[in-house]
């Protein structure tokens, strides 16, 4: 089963965040313990100061004359850098484009008059068409908006589209922007920490929000053999609650197991898990149970939300690219903010160290009860 599956290689990528605008910059910053999460007094975002990882207000992402929104500029800037590392043709009908975002251009609702033109401008369809046109993609963009698992789902979707022969290569880009709309919503759930978040820690008290973008380019071309591969994916639903995670973690655990089976490996082959780790009480507890359920309780786990905050639809992509860096450099990165185990026991990374890493799992969970997992392999 699965032995004749086509291999899908990561051939280029980018991470574009407040702490760096290339993958390499981001990985160096994380290794050096630099976090993007700072306290901000920004009345345009929140009536009270918040801890978040956000860009400077005057930062330019795409210079020159244009009408792209901040969300679209982030996508464009990230895709430009990723494309610069490959020679793939975007105007090839066998090149796919997948856009992942949780809230896209929703910030426009805060400042613009609500009319039909604005509603069209907010639509993810509009953004996707603009991005496709900017670069000259000719295939119809695929848009995934599946809460906080969007990025992981976009990668799984891209992998399958190459395996099924629909595309030869796929550009997968995700971004989200932090605005009052999003901040107020998470505040209403009392989900935000006033300090930098503490994934899996005993004293964790909520998440930080973050903005950023990331791009991953996948190809089925054998000339990339030797690159890190996306080898498996699994997606499930808790069928329990629209805004609270499963009590048992069984469904995320099942998604992890499905991804591992799909990848043709076994739980004992997994060397590292890049967890969702939002640092809310319920998410991290559920995730620890899920990881245990999948038989990975002794496997090393990292969580990167204290570096980036929760970047929503970009999170799965950003964290997957950093995991790929860990594999290439055989380097573990720490779970900033974690000090003392605050969930079912896991093997949480706490420092930069060397280790041979052959197979990794990336997980995500979100509102609506959705769970996603993917496997990266050397």
């Amino acid at each position: 089963m699965g032995t004749s599956k086509k291999d899908v290689f990561i051939i280029a990528d980018n991470v574009y965040t407040p702490i760096g605008i290339t993958t390499q910059q981001n990985f160096e910053q994380v290794k050096n313990g630099v976090s993007g999460v700072q306290k901000h007094d920004r009345p345009d975002l929140s009536d009270v100061p918040i801890a978040a990882s956000i860009f400077n207000q005057d930062q330019i992402f795409v210079p020159g004359e244009h009408t792209y929104t901040k969300f679209e500029q982030l996508l464009i800037a990230s895709i430009i850098d990723a494309l610069s590392h490959t020679d793939i043709k975007v105007d090839d009908p066998k090149t796919g484009l997948i856009i992942s975002s949780t809230k896209g251009n929703i910030s426009l609702i805060e400042t613009e008059e609500n009319n039909e033109a604005l509603q069209k401008r907010i639509s993810l369809n509009t953004s996707a068409q603009l991005i496709a046109k900017h670069f000259g993609f000719i295939s119809q963009p695929i848009i995934i908006s599946n809460a906080c698992i969007s990025g992981v789902m976009a990668l799984v979707t891209g992998m399958r589209m190459i395996q099924s022969g629909r595309y030869d290569q796929v550009v997968i880009a995700g971004a989200d922007v932090i605005s009052k709309f999003v901040v107020s919503g998470f505040q209403s759930f009392q989900a935000l920490s006033a300090e930098r978040c503490k994934p899996f820690d005993k004293n964790r008290n909520g998440l930080n929000l973050g903005e950023g973008a990331a791009t991953v380019i996948l190809s089925g071309d054998e000339k990339y053999r030797g690159n890190i591969r996306v080898t498996g994916g699994g997606i499930s639903n808790d069928a329990n609650h629209i805004s609270g995670p499963s009590r048992t973690g069984q469904e995320l655990g099942d998604a992890i197991t499905k991804a591992i089976t799909n990848a043709g490996v076994k739980a004992e082959d997994i060397d590292l898990i890049s967890a969702h780790g939002t640092a809310t009480h319920y998410n991290d507890e559920m995730e620890a149970k899920a990881i245990t359920h999948a038989g990975l309780q002794n496997t090393r786990v990292n969580g990167l939300k204290a570096f980036y905050g929760h970047t929503l639809g970009a999170a799965g992509l950003i964290e997957t690219v950093l995991t790929k860096q860990c594999m290439e450099q055989n380097t573990l990165i720490p779970t900033l903010g974690f000090e003392e185990m605050g969930t079912a026991p896991l093997n949480i990374t706490t420092a930069v160290s060397k280790a041979e890493i052959k197979n990794c799992v990336k997980t995500a969970s979100g509102f609506g009860g959705c769970n996603g997992a993917l496997v990266l392999s050397k």
Partner: protein, 204 residues
């Protein structure tokens, strides 16, 4: 490995104040606004699910369509919970709920409104109601895209990721709304799960 073909074993369209099941009109209430119509469907089919009243219009529409779709047409005991999944598409994401949430923020932000500012919540509502735990997805497409839908769902069934899938279109914005749900199973009977039939039923 099952060699059975994929068939549409049930369909439900809710559009223009009319409900169709398997291409037959089964309920209509002209000349009422769509919030009233959604409640009328709930009452007409004698549904009893208090969570319905808390849902936004997108979730109400999708949930009602799924109830009509599955009623007397689906034997869920044939499947494990993780073998049944949902793939939905729409054009307007959760914009209807987004606008209502943002209007409410001027007073006080409400978590019960904010949670519906995600287009995949309707998927979660249907999963909760029926205990479906398989793969799900929400894609944004400019209009109903039968070829894309067929391709995504067919992949999940062919690769045995799912054995049954509820799929289709659930879109709400302002006064405009439409749901078109299809139950796709590996079976000997039913309507062929192909682009032509999807489009024909969609535009009934």
């Amino acid at each position: 490995m099952s060699a059975q073909k994929q068939h549409i074993t049930s369909s439900c369209i809710i559009s223009e104040n009319t409900v169709y099941k398997n291409e037959r009109q089964i309920f209509a209430q002209p000349d009422v606004e769509h919030g009233v119509f959604l409640l009328a469907i709930y009452q007409h089919f004698e549904l009893n699910y208090p969570k319905f009243y808390k849902m936004d219009n997108l979730s109400k529409l999708g949930w009602l369509a799924s109830e009509v779709l599955l009623k007397d047409s689906f034997d869920k005991s044939k499947y494990q919970p993780e073998e049944i999944g949902i793939v939905l598409t729409n054009a307007n994401s959760s914009l209807d709920a987004d606008i209502k949430y943002w209007e409410s923020v001027q007073d006080i932000a409400s978590p019960s409104l904010f949670v519906y500012t995600l287009p995949n919540i309707v998927v979660g509502e249907i999963c909760i109601r029926n205990g479906f735990k398989g793969e799900d997805a929400l894609y944004i497409t400019p209009q109903f895209d039968a070829a894309f839908l067929q391709q995504q769902v067919s992949y999940l069934l062919c690769n045995n990721i799912l054995q049954a899938c509820i799929c289709g279109w659930v879109d709400v914005f302002g006064d405009e709304y439409k749901a078109a749900l299809f139950l796709v199973e590996k079976s000997d009977g039913g309507v062929e799960f192909g682009v032509e039939d999807l489009n024909r039923i969609f535009s009934i």
